[in-house]
């Protein structure tokens, strides 16, 4: 194998030797880990029910809180999608489904799923639960701020849902909230609805910033002894990089929402040119609607990766654990995550090829967009190469991983259609776009979330989720979702535009009626299948098989806590010491097919460990 590894080892060894001190006993030199820079600190422990479970400062509880609230919001998003599909598949069947309601549901579905479900769940949910455990910290570095972060999110969700009950209802401006229509009559919810949406987003960003600071500083400052950056599990790398992206991208959304609120309430004209409405010239002038689009997509594109990068990280870990094989090309995977993260700030205007911006930008953004395909493809190769010559457990977790690979590659390829500027022209604003982004950032991340739930549930609750129910859940979701979104691309080829309440009888779309009915029925089934998981969780909590310590025989730290589920403070009396990366599976010569991160080299001196 490569010489690079040997070099690495020597560098590591030298740096170890350079610092004096060390442990005791045989192999002390090899087992040496730098001493801690700051003394271990005790945490604030809650005593009452309220401080333990409600205004709680334990990142694990906050993670579960985030998870539950995001899931609750996601279920609302799911129900909205059912209502939309009801209209699209069977127009006129539901008498309450007016065009106003349809557009309101479209908007709320989109915003809920992208921001309040996926982002909150990956970063707030998995980030909080896993970061401290995986880097060997007792908790996040700012536990109080972390608690406030969740409750800001709670208020943000409250404000968002309140908009269903205000005069005019929630905003129906599409999740992109493009002005001028978002704040003009003619769009549902152009008064109260859009106002509450902006306030809710501002609260979300504020709350998220508190959480995000925690994730970043915990990863940078609170890793345990021996946990170098290049030994971190990819899950942490994914969440960490996504948080950096979020910190840089969310401010653009924040100012966009603020400026639009000013246009709406105070009559400024940031985004509002001279407008003629019902024969009257409005009191606006000189603003640029395209400016908002730039702000929105400067947030909106990194947002895709804010969801995708944690998913990339998590899936890497799940595949590795259940294929009993190290993740292939770890360093490439890390650099791909960082590279994709950096590039994601240079591609935003590929959402705007036909927006009326200067068309010459198209050349630049098409090029940057297609460049991003290279590191993304590398990640895909490395996932399947991890399966190659592995020892693959075909359990529910692995099924979700395989489902992820299929849907992600499918959605990634259609992204190349849309990123390639002139190919985008006929396809933009059609159902091809809907199919693409649902496949790549709806279904694919959902596969990861589900895989992660089945994988980490034994850690969180100490019991295995039921495998049989899990498999039903997987196959219904995967096959159902695939048969929703794969054919949907072809509606886009026909030219069916998105955001149409009804198609009427345009001659070239009559053939699509049957497909729309089929897609709707599939959507009802896939949605209903998600309740299998809820049933499974309730059942497991009561009667599930106890998991015990490290049930998957994983290497990474989160499974190595003294108690399962981990207690507040995670590590009991002593913080763990890390000696290797998180992927020493099936090392030749080792007794078992995994060597945990805390195993000192002296214990496995006879094995052929290549990477530390």
């Amino acid at each position: 194998m490569s010489e690079d590894f040997n070099d690495n080892k020597t560098i590591q060894a030298q740096s170890s030797e350079a610092i004096s001190g060390g442990g005791s006993g045989i192999g002390a030199d090899a087992d040496y880990v730098r001493p801690a820079e700051v003394a271990d600190q005790d945490l604030y422990h809650g005593h009452s029910f309220i401080t333990k479970w409600i205004f709680c400062q334990d990142a694990k509880v906050i993670g579960v809180q985030y998870f539950l609230l995001a899931t609750f919001t996601g279920i609302i998003g799911l129900i909205l999608s059912w209502l939309m599909r009801l209209q699209l598949g069977f127009p006129g069947l539901a008498p309450f489904m007016t065009a106003e309601h349809y557009y309101q549901f479209v908007t709320m579905h989109g915003m809920i799923m992208v921001v309040y479900f996926l982002t909150a769940l990956f970063l707030g949910g998995f980030g909080n639960y896993l970061i401290p455990l995986m880097v060997g910290a007792r908790d996040m570095v700012f536990p109080y701020l972390n608690m406030v972060s969740f409750w800001s999110f709670f208020v943000a969700v409250g404000v968002l849902l309140a908009s269903f009950f205000v005069p005019g209802g929630p905003t129906g401006s599409g999740w992109t909230l493009y002005p001028p229509q978002a704040i003009l009559e003619g769009t549902p919810g152009s008064g109260w609805g859009i106002m509450l949406m902006c306030i809710s987003l501002i609260l979300f960003v504020a709350g998220f910033t508190m959480g995000g600071l925690n994730y970043l500083i915990t990863v940078l400052q609170a890793r345990t002894r021996g946990m170098t950056l290049m030994r971190m599990p990819l899950t942490v790398w994914g969440i960490f990089t996504a948080t950096v992206l979020a910190m840089l991208a969310f401010p653009a959304l924040l100012v966009g929402a603020l400026m639009m609120s000013l246009d709406n309430v105070l009559g400024t004209s940031f985004f509002m040119p001279t407008i003629l409405k019902a024969g009257e010239v409005l009191e606006y002038g000189g603003g640029s609607p395209i400016l908002f689009q730039h702000l929105f997509w400067f947030f909106g594109h990194p947002e895709v990766y804010i969801v995708a990068l944690p998913a990339f990280g998590i899936i890497s870990d799940l595949i590795s654990v259940h294929a009993r094989k190290n993740i292939f090309g770890y360093r490439m995977m890390v650099w791909a995550i960082v590279g994709i993260g950096a590039l994601s700030f240079f591609v935003w205007a590929h959402h705007m090829y036909v927006s009326g911006m200067n068309p010459w930008f198209g050349f630049f953004f098409a090029t940057t967009t297609l460049i991003i395909a290279v590191p993304t493809a590398m990640k895909v190769y490395n996932w399947i190469l991890t399966l190659w010559r592995g020892n693959i457990r075909l359990n529910t977790v692995m099924l979700w991983c395989l489902g992820f690979i299929v849907t992600f590659v499918n959605g990634g390829i259609t992204g190349i259609f849309l990123g390639n500027v002139s190919v985008d022209v006929p396809l933009s604003d059609t159902y091809f776009v809907i199919a693409h982004f649902h496949m790549v950032m709806g279904i694919a991340p959902l596969m990861v979330i589900m895989g992660a739930v089945y994988h980490w549930f034994p850690l969180v609750a100490g019991r295995f989720l039921d495998e049989k129910l899990g498999k039903w859940h997987f196959w219904l979701t995967f096959l159902g979702a695939y048969s929703i979104y794969f054919p949907m691309h072809y509606l886009g080829f026909i030219g069916v535009p998105r955001r149409y309440f009804e198609m009427y009888d345009s001659p070239y779309v009559t053939s699509a009626v049957g497909m729309n009915e089929f897609i709707s029925i599939a959507a009802f089934i896939v949605g209903a299948a998600q309740f299998i998981l809820i049933y499974n969780i309730i059942k497991t909590l009561k009667t599930g098989k106890p998991a015990g310590h490290n049930p998957w025989q994983a290497c990474s730290l989160e499974w190595l806590t003294p108690t399962v589920p981990p207690e507040h403070g995670n590590w009991g009396d002593r913080l763990p010491t890390v000696h290797r990366w998180a992927y020493d599976y099936s090392v030749p010569g080792a007794k078992e097919d995994f060597i945990t991160q805390t195993t000192p080299p002296s214990e496995v001196a006879h094995t052929k460990v290549e990477k530390t």
Partner: protein, 278 residues
């Protein structure tokens, strides 16, 4: 075992669906057939990658599913393989990007002989304006728009007088003659889109945007608004009729110019004052 088979059937089903689908693009009716070709190329390369990756995965599922006695291979990295894959991907991506950019270059460069059409959008409808004999459209302002001046033409702009005004959501085009669509909106974003022409661009209030195409099939086509513009978005339809030169010229003859309209308004006005005097 069944896991691999089901995944294999999903891949096979996808390929068969693509081959036998009755849902596919409409016949192209403009010069932008190149866009279709690029899509086809992307299908071949992208579809090939999709099939290859998925089949490899299915193979791994068959070949390497869990056996107690087997131990997985231990191989953290393979620099050579990673290098080969990186370069192969880069070449594939470049092969897709190049034709895309070439066609985009044609898209942003409008031919000199293109006839300009002012497409004016509002919530929720369209109307059109063609240059008169001077070949130039008069300049406009939103604040000028009223019943007497539906396009908001600047009255002091001499180019505006002979502009042909089509106060209908249907426009006729001459076959095989490039048109430059100049888009403007008086309220919110819109997008003048005919699926058969492939091309589209948003109409943005406050600025004039453009794109061009050359229709090459006669017949009637439906215009759709392709940028969400409020609750009437889905009903914001229009029409295009592509005609041969002679039919088109006949049609154009019958249309009203701005000066016709002003004259007509004046007659109406005069009659009104006469009536008032009586």
């Amino acid at each position: 075992m069944h896991v691999g088979i089901i995944f294999f059937l999903v891949i096979l089903g996808s390929v068969l669906f693509h081959i036998f689908t009755p849902w596919y693009w409409t016949d192209v009716a403009s010069n932008w057939g190149g866009m279709d070709d690029t899509i086809t190329l992307t299908f071949w390369i992208g579809g090939g990658v999709f099939i290859a990756v998925c089949l490899f995965m299915v193979y791994c599922v068959f070949k390497f599913s869990y056996k107690k006695e087997r131990k997985a291979e231990y191989k953290p990295e393979d620099k050579k393989l990673e290098k080969i894959l990186t370069w192969a991907t880069t070449i594939g991506v470049a092969a897709l990007l190049a034709p895309g950019l070439i066609i985009w270059n044609q898209y942003v460069n409008v031919p000199k002989n293109a006839i300009e059409i002012d497409v004016m959008a509002w919530q929720w409808g369209w109307q059109y304006r063609l240059p008169g004999e001077d070949g130039k459209l008069g300049t406009t302002k939103v604040v000028n728009i009223n019943d007497d001046n539906p396009f908001g033409i600047n009255l002091d702009d001499p180019f505006g007088n002979d502009d042909v005004m089509i106060q209908s959501d249907i426009i006729n085009l001459e076959n095989n003659r490039p048109v430059k669509i100049l888009l403007r909106s008086v309220d919110v974003l819109h997008n003048w889109y005919v699926p058969q022409f492939r091309a589209k661009m948003d109409a943005v209030p406050g600025i004039v945007t453009y794109y061009w195409f050359e229709p090459n099939k006669t017949g009637e086509f439906e215009v759709l608004c392709a940028e969400y513009c409020g609750v009437g978005h889905y009903a914001m339809r229009g029409g295009v009729e592509v005609q041969d030169k002679q039919d088109y010229d006949n049609w154009l003859q019958q249309q009203e110019t701005f000066s016709d309209l002003i004259a007509k308004q004046k007659i109406l006005e005069d009659e009104k004052t006469k009536l008032a005097k009586k």
